[in-house]
């Protein structure tokens, strides 16, 4: 069963010794079960903070955040693969399965199946340091899929990769996620990526991080990278972001 997320009047302030930074303010967004929502915006718009809250890593927020069901299975794909360097590719995937109580042997054979799925069937015995960045991120994707998540959170998962690898991984992601209905939350600064992957794009602006617009991307799937409808959406989103950005010269004059 995929999860439903509700952010209601969500705010997050980081209090420093000298000054406080308002990372999020008055965010109202609902992620329906089975939807793919992409949050896009400039750096500092609080989109990563939002993801941290959704992941349960950050609980110091104002307003309310609810995840239904509360025990929904969660998986995260980060910008860096965050693999345990002392574990092999197989061991890294088995790690999250064993932590869920799966027997070591079962976990490892499941891990092998997942490695096959992401095209790394031969790499099970290799340590992360022996894998390229793209391969590491694939292992990380396999690890996320291993727990069969109801909710998949992705924080700029492809931004550390070269564009060719990133494009291929995006396609694989779409194919792999189509197998089961799950709620997906993607955070990215790549407008094209947001439109290509998301059913819906939530545009955010910075200082403080708020939602500027929500756009349903109704280009049909499977999507093609050169779909003119996608280019249209990309244009709309870019426009919205440009308009919400303060003009650089005026900074510091107002207020």
């Amino acid at each position: 069963m995929s999860a439903r997320l509700v952010f209601a009047n969500l705010g997050r302030t980081f209090r420093g010794a000298r000054e406080s930074t308002v990372a999020l303010k008055g965010v109202n967004v609902t992620l329906e079960p089975g939807s793919f929502t992409a949050f896009v915006g400039p750096s500092g718009c609080g989109k990563s903070t939002l993801l941290h809250i959704a992941a349960g890593l950050d609980t110091q927020f104002d307003g309310t955040f609810t995840r239904e069901p509360a025990d929904a299975t969660l998986a995260c794909l980060f910008q860096q693969p965050r693999l345990l360097p002392w574990q092999t590719a197989r061991g890294n995937i088995a790690f999250v399965l064993e932590a869920r109580g799966l027997a070591r042997r079962d976990a490892r054979s499941r891990a092998d199946g997942l490695l096959d799925l992401v095209g790394l069937g031969e790499a099970g015995d290799r340590f992360p340091a022996q894998l390229s960045g793209g391969m590491q991120q694939r292992v990380s994707l396999a690890r996320a899929l291993a727990v069969d998540p109801d909710l998949l959170l992705m924080d700029e998962p492809f931004s550390a990769l070269d564009e060719l690898t990133a494009a291929r991984l995006r396609e694989e992601l779409v194919a792999l996620c189509a197998a089961k209905e799950r709620t997906i939350l993607l955070v990215t600064h790549n407008i094209h990526e947001a439109c290509y992957l998301g059913d819906r794009v939530v545009v955010m602006s910075a200082h403080p991080g708020t939602v500027v617009a929500e756009i349903a991307v109704d280009a049909k799937r499977p999507r093609r990278l050169d779909d003119p409808r996608l280019a249209e959406f990309t244009g709309i989103v870019r426009d919205l972001i440009d308009r919400s950005e303060p003009v650089p010269q005026s900074r510091g004059v107002a207020a």
Binding site: L57, P81, A99
Partner: protein, 286 residues
């Protein structure tokens, strides 16, 4: 022993900036796998050169001050035939083991506390620096007087002298823990005790190894001194005894077997374990 004033712990960014494969593990010493036969040859050459240098110094200062390698080994044989060699080594090894266990326990607990709790770091961090600068002699004498002149005092005294250096190593390790990996584990709902065992401990393992290695060699050198001051058995006592008799052959002969034992432990036990545990680190080039 050098004492270094510790600054505030480095922020998480240090660990984060290591890139995709860094993940907080220290790079450590560069290990070249190389050809085992060639490595063995180099080791032999190194030992032969050392023996040569030893003999040379012995000639310069005189064999009555520093006996050469041949004379020393002959004296080792003599001490064995007289029957005290192995009892000396046994009793000293026992004391070293005791002191080492105490020092390791103290440094693991202290290092973890100092690295994890800012309040502990502020209150007790300076203690480690101060502890490292107290002269060993003062510690030994005070412990002998407080506990009594016995083996327990020897162990405790040695442990206290050795602990600060080991605490520093563990402390560094705890600070080097990469919070990103813990975050990852938490999002996957990995239970806390498994995070500790499978995410946190492996990251600190290289530092604990460093602590153990420096701690052990330091323990051995301090223990000899502690024995000399207050025990009537063991390698340290034997050295003092023959020093009083100005029998330098026997002084050197008392130390040589134990040096051999420490080396055997290093190369036969520590290094192979280290190679196995940290095999993931050597894999970059493949």
């Amino acid at each position: 022993m050098t004492t270094v004033e510790r600054a505030a712990p480095p922020s998480a960014e240090v660990a984060l900036s290591e890139g995709p494969t860094g993940s907080g593990a220290p790079t450590g010493r560069g290990k070249r796998p190389g050809d085992p036969l060639l490595n063995a040859l180099y080791l032999l050459a190194s030992l032969a050169l050392l023996a040569l240098a030893w003999q040379l110094v012995s000639w310069i200062v005189g064999a009555d001050v520093l006996p050469g390698p041949y004379a020393s080994i002959a004296a080792v044989e003599k001490s064995q035939s007289e029957g005290y060699l192995w009892t000396d080594i046994g009793i000293t090894a026992y004391r070293i083991a005791g002191a080492f266990v105490i020092a390791m326990t103290v440094s693991l607990v202290m290092g973890a506390l100092l690295g994890r709790l800012p309040i502990a770091e502020r209150l007790f961090g300076p203690w480690v620096t101060i502890g490292a600068s107290i002269p060993s002699l003062v510690v030994i004498v005070v412990i002998y007087l407080a506990v009594g002149i016995n083996d327990h005092a020897a162990m405790i005294g040695t442990a206290l002298i050795v602990a600060p250096a080991m605490i520093y190593a563990v402390w560094d390790g705890v600070r080097a823990i990469n919070p990103e990996l813990q975050e990852m584990a938490r999002t996957f709902a990995v239970p806390k005790h498994i995070i500790l065992r499978r995410v946190i401990l492996p990251q600190t393992a290289p530092f604990i190894f460093t602590a153990a290695r420096t701690g052990l060699s330091l323990t051995w050198r301090i223990m000899i001194f502690v024995e000399l001051l207050g025990r009537s058995s063991g390698v340290g006592y034997r050295i003092q005894y023959y020093y009083n008799l100005v029998d330098m052959n026997r002084v050197v002969a008392a130390a040589v077997p134990f040096i051999g034992l420490m080396l055997a432990f290093e190369f036969g036990v520590l290094r192979p374990i280290e190679r196995f545990v940290f095999r993931w680190r050597r894999s970059e080039a493949q």
